[in-house]
């Protein structure tokens, strides 16, 4: 079962976990908005339609590569605040190595392959977050 959700609502971890609990092993990753350098608000822009298609493609690749019983990607968009959940990836499989690897694959590749853009508001001023080379390297190890 694949579940893709792009939403302005808070991410409900408990519900996502329960829907993943198929097979013997579930691995999840949750990214939170950090309060680095006084960030008050983080705004997430995305490319409607293309985003969902990109996430679905990633989830399908993970399911095929690791024979997953379930894969979930939830990404929040719009304005959010430090401590809130921005992204959730989850993978379920019969065995733990597959679930753990697939979960890491989903978040690493999401960082480079899905059209989201972060804008930080610090002291009332907005600035677009720069892409990081380390994210390209992390994504490359799955190619």
């Amino acid at each position: 079962m694949i579940r893709i959700l792009v939403t302005t609502d808070a991410i409900d971890i408990a519900a996502e976990q329960v829907s993943l609990e198929q097979g013997g092993a579930v691995a999840t990753f949750t990214g939170l908005v950090r309060a680095d350098d006084g960030v008050a608000t983080l705004e997430l822009e995305h490319y409607p339609g293309a985003t969902e298609a990109a996430l679905l493609r990633l989830a399908e690749q993970a399911v095929a590569r690791w024979s997953l019983s379930a894969a979930t990607i939830v990404h929040r968009v719009g304005p959010m605040h430090p401590g809130e959940r921005i992204v959730f990836t989850g993978a379920a499989s019969a065995h733990r190595a597959a679930a753990l690897e697939a979960c890491a694959f989903l978040i690493d590749r999401l960082k480079t392959d899905a059209p989201f853009w972060k804008r930080e508001v610090v002291a009332g001023k907005g600035r677009w977050v720069e892409a990081r080379e380390s994210d390209d390297h992390a994504a490359d190890r799955w190619r």
Binding site: E45, A53, I86, D113, W128, R132
Partner: protein, 83 residues
Amino acid sequence: MQLLYFAWVRERIGMGGEEVSPPEAVETVADLVAWLSSRSDGHAAAFAKPARLRAAVDQAFVPLDTRIAGAREIAIFPPVTGG
């Protein structure tokens, strides 16, 4: 063809997208970006450094040297920063 702009590309141009009909000499995404640069100061600012741009043709990420013939929707944006 329909163009879409995101993040600081959108902000500098001052709109989320526009409908354009480039001449035949505009063969690739890079050509399109160069051609668009003359449309306004905002376009010129957004497209000043093509190396900082990324693109999608009909919702699939592509390199800037991709040919655009037949494309219906082209999106131009900075490197992605989700997750």
